[in-house]
């Protein structure tokens, strides 16, 4: 070995210097998405060249291992799955149909929520677009809890996008490469997510500890915080939308450095140790896929048919109400004459109580219209015979209702209120 070193000493020294300078450059230079290089170390939009190089070397073998493992396991799994695939397919189709209807309903609710949100000028955001990705590798160090996804900028991923699973939040995209991305997990010591305790509404910042457990830091001691309480995202960090599940409170420990402060250890809702498929929230703007829009249109059409049915019902009830007996409108035009003995004559549409002592000011007390007299004739004949002599005088007194009476009311054989005033049909 010694002759080798002696012989190629200069070359080796040159090589070492070149490597050292390349590494130094790679550390300083950042490469942006557009291929532009920047020397500004504070530029957050770029990626260090050395990270890109390392990623370019390590990611392809990781993808190869992952795909080969998935392929070999998939062959055996496919054989096993084929056994009950027909029944499962039918069940799944039913489920899909039901879920599509539910989804249409939920989308309608979401749109309504968005409208209300706009009205109230809220700044909170909704999740609308996500990108599914698979975790393919990690940093390989417990001090650096990051992992890599098989999707990158070519798939629309950007820095600071939230990464979630169906169970809860996982982390945020930290670096983006063309076909992969680095995600900083929520249990890393340098991570930070705004969270809120569901019941007590206490807000805090979530980050990892040395053991890889997420914990809420910087909280004042509070007796209300109990194990089992749910922890949700607060939405104030501009990364995670509000209300996503984070986990549950595991225990509360005192901050050894500050007496009045506590750490709230959180059991994450997502399985941080076994992450396979995750969702990256790529957009919080309202975007519906064609399928979702079609479902939404179907939902609206269904709702339109329902509204038309309700309108028809209202119309039918109005017609029915017109045909049913009700109060007589005094301003209504006179009804056509009805033959005695007919049902209309037996049941006149009058429900007001007759005055006990009618006078000339009583509506209908001094003058009875011809049609009313005709309608009341059968009942009057049945109860008491009206005095036909009183009829002309009654007509005269009612000619000017507001004038003083010139003559006293004529005597009649009938009792007061009978014969002249409208009578309730027995």
């Amino acid at each position: 070995m010694e002759p080798f070193l002696v012989r190629y000493r200069n070359l080796l020294v040159l090589l070492a210097m070149l490597v050292a300078q390349l590494v130094g450059l790679a550390v300083q230079v950042r490469r942006t998405d557009g291929g532009r290089s920047s020397l500004d170390a504070r530029d957050p939009s770029g990626v260090r060249l050395i990270r890109m190089w390392a990623n370019a070397i390590v990611t392809p073998p990781e993808l190869l291992i992952h795909s080969s493992k998935t392929g070999s396991l998939g062959l055996w799994q496919s054989y096993l799955d084929l056994r009950h695939v027909h029944e499962e397919n039918q069940e799944l189709e039913k489920t899909i149909g039901r879920l599509r209807l539910e989804q249409a309903s939920l989308l309608e609710d979401a749109r309504q929520g968005q409208r209300l949100q706009a009205l109230l000028d809220f700044q909170q955001k909704y999740i609308y677009t996500t990108k599914a990705a698979q975790a393919i590798g990690s940093s390989g160090s417990e001090q650096s809890r990051v992992f890599y996804l098989d999707k990158g900028s070519a798939d629309g991923l950007e820095r600071d996008m939230a990464v979630i699973t169906a169970d809860g939040i996982v982390g945020k995209v930290r670096e983006v490469f063309r076909n992969s991305a680095q995600v900083l997990a929520i249990n890393d010591q340098t991570s930070g997510a705004g969270v809120i305790l569901e019941t007590t509404r206490i807000r805090g910042v979530l980050r990892g500890n040395a053991a890889g457990q997420p914990q809420i830091v910087g909280l004042l001691a509070d007796q209300r915080i109990k194990p089992g309480e749910k922890v949700l995202t607060a939405g104030g960090d501009q990364i995670f939308p509000r209300g996503l599940p984070v986990g549950v409170v595991d225990k509360v420990v005192r901050d050894p450095d500050r007496d009045s402060f506590i750490f709230v250890i959180v059991t994450p809702a997502a399985h941080m140790a076994q992450l396979d498929e995750v969702l990256v929230i790529t957009s919080t703007q309202p975007r519906f896929s064609p399928k979702q829009q079609q479902d939404l249109a179907t939902s609206e059409a269904l709702m339109g048919a329902e509204a038309a049915a309700i309108k028809e019902q209202k119309k039918a009830s109005e017609i029915m109400g017109e045909r049913l007996p009700g109060l007589t409108d005094p301003n209504a035009p006179p009804a056509p004459p009805v033959a005695p003995g007919s049902p209309a004559a037996v049941s006149p549409p009058v429900k007001t109580a007759p005055p006990l002592h009618p006078d000339r000011y009583t509506p209908g007390g001094a003058a009875v219209p011809e049609d009313t007299k005709q309608a009341a004739a059968p009942s009057a004949n049945a109860s008491a015979k009206p005095d036909v002599k009183a009829k002309p005088k009654t007509d005269k007194t009612t000619a000017r209702p507001g004038s003083s009476p010139a003559k006293p009311a004529p005597k009649t054989d009938s009792k007061p209120g009978q014969g002249t005033a409208p009578r309730r049909n027995p």
Binding site: M1, L12, I50, P61, S144, A211
Partner: protein, 173 residues
């Protein structure tokens, strides 16, 4: 004194390996270090790049080569993480230098000695990592003594199996 009193002639004789091994073994170590924790539920109780550094540093007699191997592997590890690039580079450079330097005084064909050396160097790199982070760079990095100890134990166990395996690829005169 089989350990310290071995033949100096044999000790300073550099072991040679196929050229492809110098590139392939570190690459496989890096890939496995990044990929295996997913299968092990996030428990990273091993450091394959460190073991490769120690192995090649012990096999070759040049501290420069040991340093270079450690530096490259450490820098790659740093690049895959999100901390400042160079922390692992420094720790593994020191590990490579120490392993290559100690080779003069120990019997490198003695497997238990190599395994014990791996355990000690693993603990040393952990201490250096925490020291650089907390003291030199001022990062508020928490650390777990048990975790670092388990990592050293894991490295020891892997070295016990890995080193004889790599010895098989050695070029013999």
């Amino acid at each position: 004194m089989a350990v310290l009193g071995a033949s100096m002639h044999r000790d300073i004789e550099a072991q040679r390996y196929p050229l492809l091994m110098y590139a392939l073994v570190p690459l496989v170590a890096l890939v496995l270090q990044a990929w295996l924790p997913r299968l092990l539920r996030g428990h990273v109780w091993f450091d394959l790049p460190l073991l490769v550094t120690i192995y090649f540093a012990l096999g070759r007699r040049s501290p420069i080569q040991g340093m270079m191997t450690g530096a490259v592997l450490g820098l790659f590890e740093d690049a895959l993480g999100h901390h400042a690039i160079g922390i692992n580079g420094i720790t593994k450079t020191v590990a490579g230098f120490l392993a290559a330097s100690l080779r003069i005084y120990i019997e490198v064909d003695n497997l238990p000695i190599r395994v014990i050396l791996s355990f000690l160097l693993s603990l040393l790199t952990s201490v250096m990592f925490i020291f650089i982070n907390r003291v030199l760079l001022g990062f508020d990095l928490e650390w777990n003594l048990l975790s670092e100890f388990l990592k050293a134990v894991g490295n020891t166990a892997i070295a016990f199996m890995l080193f004889p395996l790599l010895d098989r690829a050695r070029v013999r005169d």
